[in-house]
Each structure stands twice: as structure tokens, then as C-alpha cells.
């Protein structure tokens, strides 16, 4: 466990001064607000800022008396805004899940995929595509992905539980095994898929917010809220658990109960996020580390800061995805990985400079 403890305290051992929590949270909120403004204001179709404001206010019940093109109204209200909101929800969910799971597992590499949710959701989506369910009714694919994602996480937890207890390493390895198994099922279905289905599967697995509609936002939001609320509620326990399982228990933390609650709540949030937007690599992994670098490892700051930062990051990433090659789009997963990959390398390199690497 030495390496994982180092991860918990590593950011503090550097030479630089840490940011105070309040300015950081305020800064992140400003970043999110800016991201949302940019996201709503910019798109493949040019809508002047004044019209954007007029359209938004009109939907809020304030009529400025400005004549706006109904098509621009539809683009902004039915296409762009739900997309920005969904992006913020998905980004917040993934980043919070990453932050909390890194705490639960005391492992810097933990991300929302580690308890099998992502691959489970992939299986659900691929099943829906290959069996043709996705055309049966609106949202069938998302429902299927969500159900399979949550189910996979529960299977992982159930298999790892022994005598009413789970042990972190067992849980981690069970996650790896179930992920491999589910991955095999996905692979089998992909081999059976025809050309069009294959295209659909690939598109889905690269992630996109293109399917954002208000009903999808409404369906996703409650689950994200459950995950974020649970993570925020247990930040103190997570901080104590960073000291070690036994130490936390001595300090009065019911580690088993906290773990179970978090695994369930976070699976719901991740399942909903992945179902809505596909698999988005690196958001859940990178955002919490970025925050820890700035403010240190205390979860009571890391979790809320990751929530806001993740939302802002995904809104910006989606802005790049949908405008850089307009009228076409880049897959969102490509953009997040393109930013996340180099950043992660830089993080590793920096940490090695400071104290010879993670381990």
C-alpha cells in the first residue's frame, strides 16, 4: 500500500504553494460559466450573441421584443443547449466518480471503468444495436446500456463480497476479470455484426453528445445527482480511509457500508453518463488528479472541485468536437483522449521530477 499512500500525499510534497480551496472553487465555477457561455454561443451555425441572449430569455419567460429567426431558436433551444447541459452532467458525473473511486480503492489509476460499469454499458449498447433493439423505441439503447452498466457493477461487487466484507484488492481484480469477460461478449457480438451495425458500435464507443435532447437530459440528471450527492456526503470518510482500512475503522468509519453506498451510487451515475454519451476515456481519471495537483488530496475539496472541473472540461471538449471539423464532428472520446493522454504523460513526468515517480 506504500505506493497508494504516496499518491494520497504526493501532491503535497512538491515545492509549490497550493491553491486555497475557496479561490479554486470560485475559479472553477467561473471556468464552468465561461465554458457554458462559449458552448451555447458557438456552434456550426452562427448565432449572434444578442440573439442568443434574446432566445434564452424568451424561454425563461422574458420577452425582449427582439425578432429572432425561429430556426435559430430551434437550434439553440432544442439542439445546442441540451447538448451543453448534458455535457456538463456527464463531465461532472465521470469526474466525481473518478475522484471518489480513486479514494475508495486508494489507487491513482481508478476510474469510472474500474468496477465494470463502462464495459457493462458497452455490452448493453452493443446488444441493443446488434439485436436491433435500438430502433424499437426512443432511448432503448440508452436504457439497455444503463441497465447493463449498473448490473455489471453489482455483479463485480457481489462476486467480491465474502462473509459480508469486501477487500479492496479483491474488488479491483474482480472488476478486471468481469471487464475481461464482458469485453469478450462485446467482441463476440461485434464479430456477428454487419457493416452498418459495426459503424454504429464504433461511433457509440467513441463517445458523442450528439444525441442530446431534453428528455435525455431529464433522464440522466437524477442519477448524476445521486452519485454526486453520495460522493459529497462521504468525503470525510474517504479522507480517513486514505490512512488505511484498519486505521479508518479505528476512527469510527464503517468502511464496508461507505464502500457499498458509494459503489452503488457511483455506478448509477456512471451508468447514466456512459449510456447518454458513450465511453469517454480519461475524464474520470485526469480531472481529479488535476485538482489534487492544485489543492492537495483532501477529498472534501477534490470531490466538489472535480465535479465543477469535469463539467467545464467536457463542455469545452464537446465544443471542440462539434466545431473544429464542422459541418462534421469529431468523436468526443477522441478529443478527451487527445487532451487527456498528453496531460497524463506530463503528470507522470512532473511527479518523477519531484520525487522519482509514483512508486
Amino acid at each position: 500500500m506504500a505506493s497508494t499512500l504516496r499518491f494520497a500525499s504526493g501532491a503535497r510534497s512538491g515545492t509549490g504553494r497550493l491553491l486555497r480551496p475557496v479561490p479554486l472553487l470560485a475559479g472553477l465555477l467561473a471556468l464552468l460559466a465561461g465554458a457554458v457561455l462559449l458552448g451555447v454561443g458557438i456552434g456550426a451555425v452562427r448565432i449572434p450573441p444578442g440573439d442568443v441572449l434574446a432566445i434564452l430569455l424568451r424561454h425563461a419567460g422574458v420577452d425582449l421584443g427582439v425578432d429572432v429567426d425561429p430556426q435559430q431558436d430551434a437550434i439553440l433551444w432544442a439542439i445546442r443547449l441540451p447538448r451543453v447541459v448534458l455535457g456538463a452532467l456527464v463531465g461532472a458525473a465521470l469526474a466525481v466518480c473518478g475522484a471518489a473511486l480513486q479514494g475508495v480503492f486508494r489507487n491513482p489509476l481508478a476510474d469510472p471503468g474500474i468496477i465494470g460499469v463502462s464495459t457493462g454499458a458497452s455490452l448493453g449498447a452493443v446488444v441493443a444495436i446488434v439485436l436491433g433493439l435500438s430502433g424499437a423505441f426512443f432511448g432503448a439503447l440508452q436504457l439497455c446500456a444503463f441497465a447493463c452498466g449498473v448490473l455489471a457493477a453489482l455483479v463485480v461487487y457481489g462476486l467480491a463480497r465474502h462473509d459480508g466484507r469486501t477487500e479492496v484488492v479483491t474488488l479491483l481484480l474482480t472488476g478486471v476479470a468481469v471487464t475481461a469477460l464482458v469485453g469478450a461478449a462485446v467482441g463476440f457480438l461485434i464479430a456477428r455484426a454487419d457493416d452498418e451495425e459495426l459503424r454504429d458500435v464504433v461511433f457509440w464507443s467513441l463517445g458523442s453528445l450528439g444525441g442530446a435532447t431534453w428528455p435525455l437530459v431529464a433522464a440522466t440528471a437524477p442519477f448524476v445527482a445521486v452519485g454526486v450527492a453520495a460522493a459529497l456526503r462521504h468525503t470525510r470518510e474517504l479522507d480517513l480511509m486514505a490512512l488505511g482500512e484498519r486505521e479508518a475503522a479505528h476512527l469510527g468509519v464503517d468502511t464496508e457500508r461507505v464502500r457499498l453506498r458509494l459503489v452503488i451510487a457511483l455506478s448509477l451515475a456512471t451508468g447514466a453518463a456512459v449510456a447518454a454519451a458513450g465511453v469517454l476515456a480519461f475524464v474520470g481519471l485526469v480531472v481529479p488528479h488535476l485538482v489534487r495537483l492544485a489543492v492537495g488530496p483532501a477529498n472534501r475539496i477534490v470531490v466538489p472541485a472535480s465535479c465543477i472541473g469535469g463539467a467545464a472540461l467536457l463542455v469545452l471538449a464537446d465544443l471542440v468536437a462539434r466545431t473544429s471539423v464542422a459541418p462534421t464532428e469529431l468523436p468526443l472520446g477522441v478529443v478527451t483522449s487527445l487532451v487527456g493522454g498528453p496531460f497524463f504523460l506530463w503528470l507522470l513526468w512532473r511527479t518523477r521530477e519531484a520525487h522519482g515517480g509514483w512508486a
Binding site: 437550434i75 432544442a78 457493416d195 435532447t213 467545464a312 472540461l313 466545431t323
Partner: protein, 319 residues
Amino acid sequence: MSRRAAALALPAAFAVATALLATSVPAATPKRPAAEPAPVLPARVVDEDGKTVVVRDVSRIVPLNGDIAETVFTLGLGANVVGVDVSATYPAKRVGPLPKIGYQRTLSAEGILSLRPTVVIGTPLAGPPTVLEQLRTAGVTVVIIPEFKDLDAGARKLRRVGRALGVPGRGERLARQVEGQVALARREVGRTSSKPKVAFLYLRGAQVQMIGGRDSGADALIEAAGGQDVGKGLGIQGFRSLTAESLVAAQPDVILALTAGVESVGGVDGLLRLPGVAQTPAGKNRRIVHYDDLLLLGLGPRTGRALRLLIRGLHPEVR
């Protein structure tokens, strides 16, 4: 770099990059309407899902699929097309410079809207459905015509698209032309004396080898051209990956492929080096025929031509 600067540098750089990229989005340039005889509008058509759609303006058309784009160009409305999907490859010189809206299955609503289309037309293959719904919400006329998979498809698309875009007369005339070409080609089949077994291979590099069966798009052509579709005989629906051994077991006399697929494995010589191919009669006699993607699988206005070519490819006795 200080810790604070480091932590802020990434999001800041990201925001700047975003802003730069966003401002460089090109504005759609207006297109001059076609000089051809003017379409008769409004046109009323029944959509694939049974709803009546009224098309009032065809000055800016976005076809969502390659075969539909080809059909629109054949109908003489090419000058009104303001964007196409990446599977639109014909007529190459005309569609090449047009803005691309992505692949027909993975369209994006705002991207299409930025081309300011007055009408968007495609087959049920176009999607995802959410995007079509979003286009309708934004006030764009969306026409989805049924997908046809037989030899009449080319003619039927011309009629349907012609009616939807206000040129029903032209559509009918061209459709009859295509039917005539197909009928003529079918008569040629009468002069053939062989019934070769044909394997339609879908290739993308040496690692991806699939065989087409029922509804591959090529099966109707193969049979009309007097060939026997090996994949269909094996009970394959659409495309399935293929082992070298089952290819050898099927003993095809001719291998049919797409030109881009053959190029992806290094030409005909590369194809002959793929496992199993050399052990088939087709490989031994180098009987490999390949055609352009949209010509062979599009079932568009060039169906008659594709059939004639294929008859000659499958039957050396017809010359």
C-alpha cells in the same frame, strides 16, 4: 512553472484553442440556383413512415446518402446540392469539393443546419434518428424515402426523389431509361452458357475479410448477372467474417470485390496472396472482378451499367 500556473495552464490553453477553432469555422457560401428547368413546387410526398411531407423549396439540398446524392445529381439538381455525406463519391468531380456532413449513420444536426438546407433527403439508413428529429424541429423539410434493395431500386429512387424535389417528369423519364438499361442487360444474360459461383468479398486491409450474403447489396446483381452467390448459399445475411478454410470449401469460380477493398490489400496480386484465395478456382484462374463502391452496391441510376459490366466480368463467353 509554479503549481498554480501549472494547474491553470491546461484549461486556459484549452479555452484558447477552443476559441481559435471555433472562430475558424467557415461560413456557408450561398449557391446559385440550377439553370435546369425549374422544379414544380410545392411537392407533396408520403414519407417512409407514412406521413405527408410538403417540399416547398429545393434551392439548397443536402442528400444524406451516397446513392441519393447520385440520384439527385442524375436528376439535374446537382447545382442545388450544398453538402453530401462521405459515402457520396459520384459524380466525383462534382461531389468532391462539396462540404461533407460526416458519414450517413453518424450525422450531426447543427453541422447540417450550418449549410442552411431547405430540404434534406435520404433513406432510413441515415441517422441517428435523433438528428433527423432535430432537423425537423429546426424547420428543415426532411424526406426519408424507403430503402430498396432489388434491381428496380435505381429506377424507384429516381421516381421517389424526383417526385419529392418537384421534378416528377424528369424522374419518370430517367427511371424508364434505367429500367430499359436493366432490361437490356438482362437479355444479355440469356446469351450466357455458364453459371459461375461468385464470392463477394468485403476487404479492408489484410485483416478484414468478410463475405457478403443475402441483402449485401451485391446479391441481387450477382444473380441477375447469371451468377450464383456463394455467401447466400452459405446462409449468410448481410456481411460476415470469413475463414480461409470456408472460402476454399465454397470453391468460388469468381471473386467479386470493391475496387477500394482490392487496393487496400495491395491490388489483385495482394488479394491472391490472402490465405485461401489461391486455393479457390477463382484464385487459380485469376478470375477477380472489382468495381467502384457506389456503382456495385449503391443500386442507383447506374444499375444497368453495373449489371452489364458484371455480366461481362462473370461470363467470358459474352463479348
